[in-house]
Symmetry: C2
Subunit: 191 residues, 2 copies
Amino acid sequence: MLFPEGVAIDGKTGAVTPETGRYVKRLSELKGIYQDQAAFQRAVSDGNDPVAYEVIDYRNKESDLSFGTTIMAPGQVGGEYFMTRGHYHERPECGEAYYTQSGEGLLLLESRDGEVRTVEMKPGICAFIPPDWAHRSINTGKEKLVFVWFCATDAGHDYGEILTKGMRKIVVERDGRYAVIDNPAYTKASA
Amino acid sequence: MLFPEGVAIDGKTGAVTPETGRYVKRLSELKGIYQDQAAFQRAVSDGNDPVAYEVIDYRNKESDLSFGTTIMAPGQVGGEYFMTRGHYHERPECGEAYYTQSGEGLLLLESRDGEVRTVEMKPGICAFIPPDWAHRSINTGKEKLVFVWFCATDAGHDYGEILTKGMRKIVVERDGRYAVIDNPAYTKASA
């Protein structure tokens, strides 16, 4: 039987207590999502393969709803900010909420039919991600970006299409702030 | 088509911007949930039928997940703190998360087979409510209690059993702090 629990969330570090699991993504595991391959190799070597982001779960198979934190390091690769891989949900009827606790970022989203949207992430903003929109988080600040996510336990992740095709836009630093520009490497779906 | 959106949540006031709806519960609408009927009548008259709590939604029928805030005034009726009506979800497979933003309270829960649990509500604590546990929020502090809730859009509310039978425990002030005691008026289910 599943029991109620008070789960402590540290909005600065992203610690979840108690947690049910976690994973760490080091930069080397994110090969292919950045434009500049040489800059990517340098960032991996020079930074000693830094942690790009970490995800901590509070997840129970017996509950329809799960939550957890994502903690994103600040950083850039050839002018592109550190970002998550980006994904659709495996179950297309599942949306998500990202409630930012500290830092600043940009949530980049696109729909199956090519609509692109961004939502600024900052403390006090709860980003609503509708069902079947791909979403990628980007740390556009100089500090850690920490947010709490809430979604269906069985929503699942579909990374395939974003990893192989990319997203339509990329987010780069221009004159000290972020700019959303066309992705020169975006692969249009073949008919 | 549903679009992504950044929803501002004010952790002090509970304001949700944009919001999709809200409702207010005045004390007079909560007749029957407090033990002391005379104290209840006095609290309604003397307080000019005060707002006990308010719920603000960000809800879309096309999304599986909704969220919003609950803003609970501080107060007491005959030694019992201001509380919500309490409910099960109509769909028993649906859990919920209550992420406290300001104030302090107690979440009182009970399962169908009579297990009782409490979770302290305070900033930084995200209370996990498992599927099919009745839950009632209680403002045990002197300030507003504000929390953000996240649950399935179609979870629904089943108030009936709690309103007619009560919950097994009540929460009262004793020596300046809360105490969880047996509910003298609790109606045991007839076989």
